[in-house]
Amino acid sequence: MKQYLDFLWKCFRVSFVGDWRYHLWMFFLTAIALLGLNAWCTQLVNGLITTGMTDQVSWGLFIANFTFLVGMAAAAVMLVIPVYIYKNRELHDLVIFGELFAVAAIIMCMLFVTVDMGRPDRLHHMMMRFNFPMSLLTWDVIVLNVYLLLNLHICGYLIYCAYQRKMPAKWFYIPFVFVAIVWAISIHTVTAFLLVGLGGRPFWNQAIIAPRFIASAFAAGPAFIILTLIVIDKVTSYDVPKKAFTTLRNLILVAATINAFLLVSELFTEFYTDSSHLASTRYLWFGLHGKNALVPWIWTAVSFNSIALIILYLPISRIRGLLSIACVLLIIGVWIEKGMGLIVPAFTPTPIGELVEYFPTLNETLICLGIWAFGLLIYTICVRVTIPVLSGRLTVDSDVDRVRTLPDESNDSNETETETRKECSS
């Protein structure tokens, strides 16, 4: 126990160690996170009127980011599958980076749900009266929390073993790894079902949403991990095996292609039938009665996704620069498609035909940026601590100063995250 506390204490201290770039990045994230906290406090005092949401469009950016991040968290296991199912040992350590991101993403998800609530002070009512199994929201609470625990356990245990210079006991983590794979699918399925089950919203009420959710997540998630690995490879002493990029790229290719196919199926069904259920879809793609706030967004998403897919299919995607461009495009594309493009149109027009458009406010946007910054802060710290542990420089018998005096290897995901930042703010 004492040893474990000692480990946590060392981790805490290492998280403050780094060169100026690391400090600047952390300072930047902290500042944005605090701005977000400030905006949330303003919202707590004045109510959700500070957001762009209305009775007509009652879910907006918060839930959009939530659904997107659930996908990102789920997709973290995409690295696990080649490693544990196809026994691709070289990538073993990289799994940890994916799972750490899952942890950060789930924490962001929970924050997004919390800020979306009108009465976060009554969260404990969930413990006192839990509408399980009727409400899909309660399912989501369960699967997300369990997924968080699973990932904390797996990467926490592996890192602690590396720290102790011990071989991890297989029985103590492999079963959890397999549970986590299934669980990752479940968190995304449940989140999709949360929307799909509502008969009053024809835009959501279709079976294809859950498979599309998973396909798009399994494209965007590994894309984010590629970006992280590129940065780790570049700014730290940690060597990322080349094979990791190839494996991940192939995964993305398959997922993005399936996603595109499902999109075409969906659009064909909607537009060929041309029924009154089409209103929301038409609003999203072409605008309705002169209102077309989402049209530029969705076409941006489609073109980004297509360009990314084309780059990935060509051999030029072996070039790091192009690969990262494709990944960034893909993440932005999926963020739009699964966020604003999935949540907002379901509310426009309302079930009784009123067409009110949704425009996020500055305060609301700041809260979103703050949560992203906070999540990336957590992720950066996790990666910052993990790299010296995995490369054997931070162990049970070494001191933090060993990390300090060695040539710097921090500053994990600077560029990557600046890029994702953009996609969040846009």
Binding site: S58, L198, G200, I352, D399
Partner: protein
């Protein structure tokens, strides 16, 4: 945080005492800066007017359904006192329970409704709805003749110039579904259907997630995006816990068939206010009630039957030439 840094310094064998002091100073400044920045970030909270709860006991109070009568009495008295403090008006907060053998139903005569919105305004007054931001339980849609697609309707028509030729009017409010999707999705059971078919909300239990609002096919649920404003002189002092008592910011509300009136044998406010006689209300289980007779004899329909919610709110037409201002057809219903 300081101590280990000093320990590290010992590891350097005290050779760099000055540097340590400088580093200690720098860390302290950074720490103080961080604390200040955090305090600044949460500073808007000092403008918070209402505490989340009166007391810890209040905060951890059980769900409405688990409260004993004596607990309820204390709670209702406290709530009445809150209203008195806020609005300066003495009110009674009752808790009328469903009457055994009663299941309420509503029937609306589309041939008669002329879109004057008297129901909307009466409802706002009776049920102490927020005037700013505006919350209304009833939405009247002006529909062009020849279509049933609500998307063709107008929500913001001018009520001074109704009825407009070539249009009919469709008031929509909570349909008190027998199979309500809003109740199904609520994660904390803050909303439920009572024995007389009325779906109610406990405003003190709602966490404001708005999932029910997403689930409702009739756009019947409304959210308090800000602290509701009601002019004190317009407050209706005859209140009930599950219906028209003042709501707080951040919770959901909806039509409850004026249960503070109907469970005491009165009619809903919207019905009383309607000058055209388009609205009919009564007990579906009583074969002699007006509503039951309408259901038997008129050509009735429910809105969005395809979503399977089984509404208790029925629409009907009662004449071949649907012109409400056409006097010679007026006496039929």
């Amino acid at each position: 945080m300081q101590l280990p840094i000093l320990n590290n310094a010992k590891a350097y064998k005290g050779a760099r005492k000055g540097a340590t002091r400088r580093s200690f100073l720098r860390k302290s400044v950074a720490f103080a800066g961080g604390v200040t920045a955090f305090a600044a970030a949460i500073s808007p909270l000092k403008d918070m007017k209402d505490a989340p709860a009166r007391s810890l006991e209040d905060w951890f109070r059980d769900h409405y359904k688990e409260l004993s009568q004596s607990e309820k009495d204390i709670l209702f008295a406290d709530l009445a006192k809150d209203v008195k403090d806020k609005y300066g008006i003495d009110v009674t907060i009752g808790d009328p329970r469903p009457i055994p053998g009663v299941e309420y139903g509503y029937a609306l005569n589309l041939s008669r409704c002329n879109g004057n919105r008297a129901c909307v305004h009466a409802c706002v007054k009776e049920n102490n709805q927020s005037r700013s931001p505006e919350i209304q339980y009833i939405r009247v849609v002006e529909m062009p003749s020849g279509t049933f697609d609500l998307e063709n309707g107008s929500h913001n028509y001018d009520e001074e110039s109704v009825p407009k030729d070539g249009h009919y009017y469709m008031p929509i409010q909570c349909h008190q579904c027998a199979d309500p999707p809003c109740v199904k999705v609520c994660p904390v059971e803050a909303t439920w259907q009572e024995e007389d078919g009325i779906t109610v909300i406990d405003y003190d239990w709602c966490i404001g997630c708005r999932y029910c609002q997403a689930a409702c096919p009739y756009w019947a649920r409304h959210f308090n995006f800000a602290e509701p404003y009601i002019p004190p002189e317009e407050l209706n002092p005859d209140m009930a816990y599950l219906s028209n008592r003042p709501r707080a910011r951040g919770v959901m509300e909806k039509c409850h068939f004026c249960l503070q009136r109907t469970r005491k044998g009165r009619l809903p406010a919207c019905l009383e206010a309607c000058p055209t006689g388009a609205r009919k209300f009564g007990n579906l289980l009583d074969p002699n009630s007006e509503v039951s007779q309408i259901l038997r004899t008129k050509r009735i329909f429910v809105l969005k039957e395809d979503v399977g919610t089984r509404p208790r709110f029925f629409y009907y037409f009662d004449e071949r030439t649907p012109r409400p201002r056409n006097k010679q057809n007026g006496g039929q219903a």
